[in-house]
Every structure is written in C-alpha cells, then in structure tokens.
Symmetry: C2
DNA sequence: CTGAAAGCGCTTACAG
DNA sequence: CTGAAAGCGCTTACAG
C-alpha cells in the first residue's frame, strides 16, 4: 500500500497499474491518453491506481512509439558575449514568456545557447529531442539566412523571432520595428527635437535595428526633417556598446538634441556616457530606447522606450510552432509595439 | 546519394547506417557509443555512413533502453511575479551559466518556471524526462523545506541553489552569504558609516537574506557598532519592493547613513526612492547591493555590490547534480563572494 | 468497451 | 572484434 515510498528501486510501469486496477495494460494506456473509449467505472479504477502508485507515463517509451517528443527547443544565439552576467534582458524576458507558453500548451522546453557560427542546424529535431525549434537572438542576418534556408530544406519545424520581411526562409514572428521606430521619431518631433542621433547598427545585416532607424526617419520626414547619417553610430545591444557609441558620437562634435537607441541596453549605456560628458537628460538631449525592459523604468532618468509585448510574443511563437509541427498552415506575424513615455524624453 | 535531402519523410535509423556500412546494427550502435571494441576500419566506414546520411541517434529509443535521459531539468521558482519582464536578472544569469555547464557536460536542459505552491515534486524524474533537478529561486524557505524532504524521501536526484546550512534535506550549493554580508558591513564601516539600514527580509523564512543581514551585523560589531532592527525593512527582490522599502524607511524618520540592500534590484529601487527624496548618494547615504548583476554597473550612481560568481555556481550545480545521478558522493558547497566597489558607497 | 500483439529504435549481455 | 536476439515501456490498429 505504501510501496510508493520505496526509494524508487523499480520503476512503476503501466503494467503495475493494470494489475492493480484489474485491467489490461492497453486500457491503462487508453485512460492516460484520455481516450473516450473507456467505461467510466474502468477509468475511475485505473485513475485511482495511478494516484496510489504515483505513476507517470515514461516519456521516452511514449515518444518512441508516437514519434512525437512533446518538447520544443529554444535556441538562443549570442554573438560575442560569453559572459553569463550580460545576457540581454529582452531575450531573457522572452525566455520567460516562452517557457510559460510551452507549459500552457503542455510541452516541455529545452533551452540551449548557441553561437551563430555553430553547426546546430536541425540537430534537435533529427535526434527527436524536440518537435520544433524556436530561434531567438541577434547576429549578422546575412550569415543567419543561409542557415534558415537549410532548415527549410531539411523540413525542420521552426519559428524565428526577428524582423519580418518578404521572401524570408521559413516563418518569423517579430515586432513591427518600422512602426516602433516611427513611434519614437514622432514623439521626439513632438517634443521639438530636430537632430536625432541613432545608436545601433543600421544595415541589412541587422534588419531589426535597421527598420527602427528607417521608421524613425520616416516619422521625421513627415515633419520635414530626416535622420542624418553623420549622427548614426554602430552598436550592438550591450550597455558597454551604448557607452562607446555615445562617446564616439560626442567625439564627432556635431550638434544633436536627441538620441534614439536601438535597444534599452544601448540607451542606458548612452545615458551614462552623456551624463558623464556633462549633458543633461532630457534638457540637452532627449533619449528614447527600445524593448521595454524593466530596467528602463529604473534608469536615471527613467527611460522612454518602445515596448515590445514579450508575453504575447512568446505565446505566438509557441502557438505558431505547434501549428507547423501539426502540419497546419501558419504565417509570419508582426506585433505592434507601444511607446512608454518617461522622463528621459521630457516626460 | 543525396537522399538526406528528401524532406525527412522516413527517419534514418541505425539499420540504414548498418546496411550502408555493411555491418550489423549492433556495431553501428557500438561505434556511436564510442565503444573501444570496434576495429578502426569498421569504425571509419560506419562514421562515414553516419555523416553521409546525417544520422542522429534517436534519443527516446536510447533513453528507453538505457534508462537515462541525458537531460537535466531546471526548475525556477518565482513567488508572485507573473510578469515576464520582471524576472530576476540574477537568476537569469544563473540560467545562462547552467545552460552552458550542461552543454559542456553533454546534457540537455529542460527549463520550467514553477510556483512554489505547485505540486511539482519529482514529476520530471518520475516521467524520465530528466535524470535530475536543479532548483533555483527565492520563496519562503519554510514552505520549501518540506518539499525538499519529500524529494529526498523519493530518492530524487536534485541540487538546490540557496543558503547552505547544517541539517538541510538534500544538497545545496550557495553563496557564503554571511561572508558576503560581512564584506558589505566592513566596507561601510571603513567608509565611516555608522547607521546601516537593511532592505530585505531578515528572517529564517529567507535564509539567504537573513545571512547577509547577520554577516553585516557581525562586521559592524567588530567595529563596536551593530545593525539596528529599527532600520530593517522587509522587501523581496524587485525594484518596486526596493522603492517601497526605502520609502517606508524614510517614513520612520530615523537617521541612517548607509543602506545595505539584500539584492541589486532592491538597491536600485532604493536609490531611485532616496534620490527622489532629495538625498545624495553617496554623500548622504552610501548604498551597497548584492548579486553583482550587470545593471549595478550602469546604475546611477554605479552601485557597489557583493558579487556572486554565477559562472562558477552554474558549473558546480551541474557537476554536483551529475555526481548524484551517477550515485557518486557529493556535498554541499559555499562559494565565496567578492566586493565590487563603485560610486554608490563613495567609490 | 476491452485485450492480445506488434513494433517504435535503440543497447547490451551472450555467443562466437 | 562482430552478429543475433532480447527487451526497455509504451501506443494503437486489429479482433472481438
């Protein structure tokens, strides 16, 4: 009666349950799979035995038989940063929401950090570890794209988080970065800013950042202004890169009254450097970030930022991937960001 | 020859490799398991076939046979915070290092967010999804402890991150919080501070925070001072809790010249509130945090903090858990923290 | 509604 | 050093 207390020497199998409930092992399996073809009373007996012996279906046996893993894999790409303490908080927030979305959909989540250069391809799906892949992370898109094409060719189920564009291999879920950039640009124009610097790569290698830049430019043009190439400085998404980019911008000696940073991390690093240089935020320079990470709220001054809804994004990524796994039609989607105005741009 | 290009209609099995290499399926398995009992030439032929067909061992079949999953599970506990964007950056940094440590040891990592109240227990190991569990997160330790005891009773393999103390159920890896608190206390004393407030729970329900408090107190006593209970305010590890705790402290109207926060998040929130109240940091109040998250460095002013080495912690957690899984002896370990001095305490 | 049986793709004694 | 065979614990047609 208390045998579940024995220090798991012998695994409890569906056969044990079958004996205890006085049915066949097949019936036990049916009950646990929720088959409707089981008598209510039989079901009750089996469920009781399952509870009493604390039985859990063996995932490997089940997966081997059904050829489905019930697991998704999240591959997080990071470029150079090997330092654990500097993982991009935006991606970590995504990780949280993806984890929860997986749980809601009854799937487990394998998490793995990858170098973009690695030879990962469809390893997870090939070895049946996961039914599909979620790809997340920045990195040179040009290098990335050929890998995506390869995944498509192999028939791997995957969804990518990133800039959504025509003709991309596979399916992408992403923020409408063009709209997000426009939100930032329009806001700065309204606040009377005319010379907006952009900190972040603005090339097709980094399509998300590029779209933010272009969106901001479009908004300025509506007002008869424009982004100035001489006020753009490359930066990847780290605080240190933000510091460096702001310093490089200052070194150029050109006037500017606003900074639109491609990410919150860049913005926070930039604010640090700008204040160091004796500039007042927002009086001398208005600063707007992107992502809506929690640190924006506690930055000094609190950072105006374009917020991406990571909860919705995670749910959509998982949902879309599961559609692909089930061979159902699915499509790329862009999520609309929202501007959160705080003191860094004049409140 | 190019059949690997076919959109994975039929799975490639070890039998396919066997045919192609002209050996038995058992030999293929031996080669892939790295068995030394294989002729070099035979091994070469098999490896070539594996490469040509891009074969990957089916993890479920393998695990079913060996009764080992090759996977560890990370259970992250969060208390109230359901909001993805507010996941504790310290734990996320740990997640990064654990992921990497798993990869180094050839294991996959399942990640799951749990409520402390949930009925998780040994579910992962019972269903063979994981060989062992890593438990990470804050929460009321008293509620936690009985669950740990239950895991031990069930013979589940697990390692917990947290305060290391005598007589705890199972094995724990943690920071030497007492030493960390002493580092902070000694530093503040050296800077001439006499009335140190503590923001964070300081009870046996939160043993990590409590040990930090006690360590700081011990350091003050070495200098003929002491922590004052009236300068302690409860707070869990969020920025908002830091804001609230600092405001509560200010409302008491008692003098204090330093704040030791139980975590960086609390410290950053507290600095926010203190500045709001017109206090200068560090002139009026020195602030020291705990964790060594990357945001400490870019806080305003940059935050002095007790740094925990998350890389080492992740490696040790994984290593220790794998020892348990292999039924090898293992023991609890405390890691020594390091003080990183920045401007918030006078530089 | 239920049971007997096949088989998912491996690993590993066992025999040679 | 290699092969034939058993069996890990399920799920699911098939037959009743």
């Amino acid at each position: 009666m208390q045998d579940q207390r024995s220090r798991k020497k012998t695994r409890i199998t569906s056969l044990d349950i079958a004996h205890r409930a006085g049915v066949s092992q097949a019936t036990v399996s049916r009950v646990l799979a929720g088959s409707p073809l089981v008598n209510a009373e039989t079901r009750r007996r089996v469920e009781q035995a399952v509870r009493e012996l604390n039985y859990k279906v063996d995932r490997h046996a089940s997966s081997l038989r059904t050829q489905r893993a019930g697991t998704l894999a999240l591959l997080l790409f990071e470029d150079p940063t090997q330092d654990d303490s500097h993982i991009n908080p935006f991606f970590l927030s995504m990780l949280g929401s993806i984890t929860r979305a997986c749980a809601r959909h009854g799937h487990d989540l394998l998490v793995s950090f990858q170098q973009l250069s690695d030879d990962w391809h469809a390893d997870y799906e090939d070895s049946m570890k996961a039914d599909g892949l979620i790809l997340l992370g920045y990195g040179d898109y040009l290098a990335y794209e050929s890998k995506l094409a390869r995944l498509v060719e192999q028939g791997t189920h995957f969804v990518r988080w990133g800039q959504v564009e025509q003709g991309q291999p596979g399916i992408s879920i992403g923020c409408d970065n063009l709209a997000g950039g426009a939100l930032a640009g329009r806001h700065l124009v309204e606040r009377g800013r005319r010379r907006v610097a952009f900190l972040g790569d603005a090339s097709s290698r980094f399509p998300e950042f590029f779209a933010r830049y272009q969106g901001c430019d479009a908004a300025l043009r509506e007002a008869g202004l424009a982004m100035l190439p001489e006020l753009q400085v490359d930066a990847d998404s780290t605080e240190q890169a933000g510091v460096d980019a702001a310093n490089a911008l200052l070194a150029r000696g050109l006037p500017f009254d606003a900074v639109f940073a491609a990410s919150d991390l860049i913005a926070i690093g930039a604010m640090h450097a700008l204040k160091q240089a004796g500039l007042r935020i927002p009086e001398d320079v208005a600063v707007v970030g992107f992502d809506g990470t929690s640190m924006a709220c506690y930055a000094n001054p609190p950072l105006t930022t374009v917020v991406q809804d990571t909860s919705k994004a995670g749910e959509l990524l998982v949902q879309t991937l599961l559609q692909l796994v089930r061979e159902q039609p699915a499509q790329s989607v862009m999520l609309q960001p929202v501007l959160e105005v705080r003191a860094s741009s004049g409140g």
